[in-house]
Symmetry: C2
Subunit: 143 residues, 2 copies
Amino acid sequence: MAMDSRKIEEILEKKGVRVTSIRILVMDALMSASRPMSLSDLETVLDTVDKSSIFRTLEVFEKHHAVHSIDDGTGSVKFEVCEGEEECTVSDMHAHFYCEKCHKTFCLKEINAPVVDLPEGFEMHSVNYIVKGVCRSCSRKMA
Amino acid sequence: MAMDSRKIEEILEKKGVRVTSIRILVMDALMSASRPMSLSDLETVLDTVDKSSIFRTLEVFEKHHAVHSIDDGTGSVKFEVCEGEEECTVSDMHAHFYCEKCHKTFCLKEINAPVVDLPEGFEMHSVNYIVKGVCRSCSRKMA
DNA sequence: TGATGAATTGCAACCGGGTTGCGGCAGCCC
DNA sequence: GGGCTGCCGCAACCCGGTTGCAATTCATCA
């Protein structure tokens, strides 16, 4: 419960999402986390809330562009709060880093996902750019 | 059975993979396909072969750098034959395109996955670059 | 305030990709 | 042949994600 729930209500309303207590909980968890969270991450944090409720909440959030999902190739989709007022566009999407040691996914907010030119006739909707490797703290530990 | 099985045996041997009839079948299927194949794609094509055998075969291939896997964010990992003699490096990895209409994954062989600079201390092992959208033939159909 | 209908939630069951244990079989070396 | 090793098929399992359904909550309006 890191954030003022009034603030969160405002955000939800601005995105056109009806406010409920569960939605506040989920949004709060997502905003308080420093990293993208998976469904089961959220399940762990919000252990009073049913998995399917979290799932459907995320569906609603995503439809209203309050969050976006990223696939870091671990087999579990991660969710992240959209920055700014309007919906995320391709060029907003930043790169992500997945650590093969500690299995955490990091946002590389300062690095935009590079956009390539597609062959004629292909239409781009979104980009996923994932780097896999070893993160800073793990590579330090190993040295 | 598009390829000469002698050729396939040679390839497997060169990668240090013991040759068996199933491994020839799997490698043949992968090489004959124009697109990356998932475990269940292979299951369908090779309907006489057990899923777990294909799975373990792919494990062996991957360990010996005969194939590499890509995650296109569909929830099923795809496999692709490594080009060339030695193992794939990060800079070899090309971009992939996932069509949200026909649910096919395309290799954009001519487009290398762009490589970004990581923050200090992060160590890169591999890159996944996936563009999602609508492919040429689907966008033609819709017009 | 109370009734009504729509939206939300919890529960349980399901689905499908991926994974594993195990027993049987094939190939190889002695 | 006997024994060893590795490969294969079967069945069962795991887990993230998803759905049907009944119960609850919420907003609205009489």
